[in-house]
Structures are given as structure tokens and as C-alpha cells.
Symmetry: C2
Subunit: 206 residues, 2 copies
């Protein structure tokens, strides 16, 4: 497989995972799309599982799996109610996905991720930040929650200030072990500029 994945932060997560003595079994929440990052884990010998809300994104992932002869086990499902028993996984992540929900639902999903992880298991979860130039675009629903057009549909986006997401981990049985606050600036030759803001966490189940 000679693909270049755009999910570069997951390589940092993989470094943390490889340092744990846990069974190599990983869950992706929001796992679909044309280049499913579970393939990186599969390539390194992990048993992979994923849930994805959107049937079209599951089909796109299937195309990739067929091309490379992989079965990544991506099911239709919702991270608000994960279709897995307690403490099944050593590792779980949700990459550029969880912030497409209300902050209330984010909290429920993080509780679910905690439930399916083994004690000492690791999760990578990232958030869109209020540094993002889209942070107050669209129709305001609640503080830091806006309805924005994406792929022709109105979709809820939640944006977090620098320390705001930490309550989700504190309330749901996680220790934060790593955090990266990132501001990504794309500059065009015409002088145009796009700023994307993210906050990434690696957390450990207590």
C-alpha cells in the first residue's frame, strides 16, 4: 500500500499505542470515506473495527478495501450508542468527526468510547477550535454550535476554546496524557488565507 494518508496526527497516536502492552484491537468512530485511516492500523497488524453514520462514506471505504484486499469491518452505526460490548478495545479514535455533533452529544459519545475501552486503553479525539475562521459562521444554535453548509447540507459544527473539551474527559473517566493545539494556515498566491483550528487529545481510560 503506497497511499499517503492525510490523517497525520494518527501517526502520533500510533506511537502512543505501540508503547502500551494492550491487545492490538482498534475502533474508529466515523470510519468511512475514500481513504479510511483504519488501513494504517491494519497494515501494522491491528484488528480493526469502525462505525460510520453515512452509507455513502461506507461505500467509499469499501472501494478502498477492495482495491487493497482489506476488510476493515466498518459497520453502519452511531457513536452515541456503540454496537459493542464493554471493554472490548485497547484503542479507539475519532478523527475530524466528533465536532459534527452538539456538545451534549459529544459528551455522550466520549462516555460511550470510554465504555468500550479496556482499563488503560487509549483514545485519540480531536476538536475544531474557536481559532478556526469558520468558528462563528452560519446559524448559531447554542454557544460555539453553528449550522453550516457542508456538501450541500446544513450540518451542526461545534467549536471549542482551548480548555473547554477537557470537561468531557474529566466527567467520563479519562486522564489526558497528550494535547496539541494547532492552527493551520493555508496561503494562496492571490493573498487569500484559510485558518483551520484544531485541538487534539490523547486520553487514557482510568
Amino acid at each position: 500500500m503506497k497511499e499517503i494518508f492525510r490523517h497525520s496526527q494518527l501517526y502520533t497516536f500510533l506511537l502512543y499505542c505501540s508503547g502500551k502492552g494492550l491487545e492490538k484491537k482498534v475502533l474508529d468512530c466515523g470510519a468511512g470515506g475514500p481513504m479510511p485511516p483504519l488501513a494504517i492500523f491494519s497494515n501494522l497488524g491491528y484488528e480493526t473495527h469502525g462505525v460510520e453514520l453515512d452509507k455513502k462514506q461506507i461505500e467509499l471505504a469499501k472501494g478502498f478495501e477492495e482495491k487493497y484486499g482489506l476488510n476493515l469491518n466498518i459497520l453502519e452505526g452511531n457513536m452515541l450508542a456503540l454496537p459493542f460490548e464493554d471493554e472490548l478495545f485497547g484503542f479507539a479514535y475519532s478523527y475530524n468527526s466528533i465536532f459534527h455533533m452538539s456538545k451534549n452529544d459529544v459528551n455522550k459519545s466520549i462516555k460511550e468510547i470510554n465504555r468500550v475501552l479496556k482499563k488503560g486503553g487509549l483514545a485519540f479525539i480531536n476538536f475544531a477550535s474557536t481559532q478556526d475562521n469558520r468558528a462563528t459562521s452560519g446559524k448559531k444554535v447554542r454557544d460555539g454550535e453553528y449550522l453550516q453548509f457542508e456538501h450541500g447540507k446544513e450540518i451542526l459544527h461545534s467549536f471549542y476554546s482551548e480548555f473547554e473539551a477537557e470537561k468531557h474527559f474529566e466527567e467520563n473517566g479519562f486522564d489526558i496524557i497528550y494535547k496539541e493545539v494547532r492552527k493551520r494556515i493555508g496561503l494562496r498566491k492571490d493573498g487569500g488565507k484559510v485558518t483551520l483550528g484544531y485541538i487534539d487529545y490523547i486520553v487514557e481510560k482510568k
Copy 2:
């Protein structure tokens, strides 16, 4: 090769490189060490070259190359005077390396990197930022330049504020096309905290 590289930002650079129609020939400035990132490029079909000041780091890279049957072409050399003719490379990078020099020498090195790149060629260069908790440790030499102990030796470190490095690119024939400002926080269970600050640039030769 089933290694996990810690140089996750280089995957973003690779995405930009793969979008250019240039010959796949890449130079690493500061290329040695036990897990030389040129291997990622080699694995994707790039012709690789590297320079490295430190003989010991070249030996460590050789161990890796022998293990995987690779020849990454890492020479002893200094990025202040690159041992290559003009416009030889489509791509060049210096990862966590250039800030071990004075700001004056950083400027000279970036001029050198520009010289060996083809027009339209891309470079990835990252800087330690003043957000780093080591930013004013050690013995001050000049503004933002401190002598700090690393591996038992006093080594110069340069730290940059958010927009400070841009002059190096403006003065030396580069357009900035991408920038990421990162603050990495490692949290220990005893409550201890380490903050690392970086600013990454992808620039294009005019």
C-alpha cells in the same frame, strides 16, 4: 517496513509534494538518526539524499538502512554550504533541525535550500516557537537564541515568534503556501507538564 515514524508533519508535506509534477528527488537537511525520515520518501519511490553534521547520527541511520536494505545517500555535510549543484531537487526539508543554529545561520541555510531547489520546488522547514517552555532557558546569546544543554553538550537553540521566520522566506525567494502553529502539551500523571511549541512551513521556490 512496519516502522512508525515520529515525524508526522512530513506526511502533510508528502501530500503537497505528490500534488506537484516534479521529479521525485528529495533532500533532507539534518538527515541522520536511528529512524531517518528519508525512508518514508524512499518507500514511496523518491530518490533520496541527505546531509548530516554529526557522524554518530550518520552511523545510527546506517544501522536502519542496513536493517531494511536501503541506501538513503546520507552524506556528512552542513546545510550552510550544501554539497550539491543549483536546482537539483524538486523537494527539500529540514525537520526539527534548523533551529539548532543562530538566526543568521538559519537565514543562510534557507538561502542554500532555495539554491538547490528547482523553480516551483517545495520545502518543509519547522522552527521552535517562543510558546515552548524552554524558550528562555539557558544562557542568552542574542534575542531568542539560548545555549542549552542537550545530550550533555551546550547547544545553541533559536526560538521564533509567530511571524518572525517569515522574513527568511521573503528574503530568499520563497512563497509561503502552508503554515501550522502548534503547541504540544505532554501531561504526566503526577500533574507535571511539558509544552513544546513549533511553527511548520511549506514554501515554494519562486
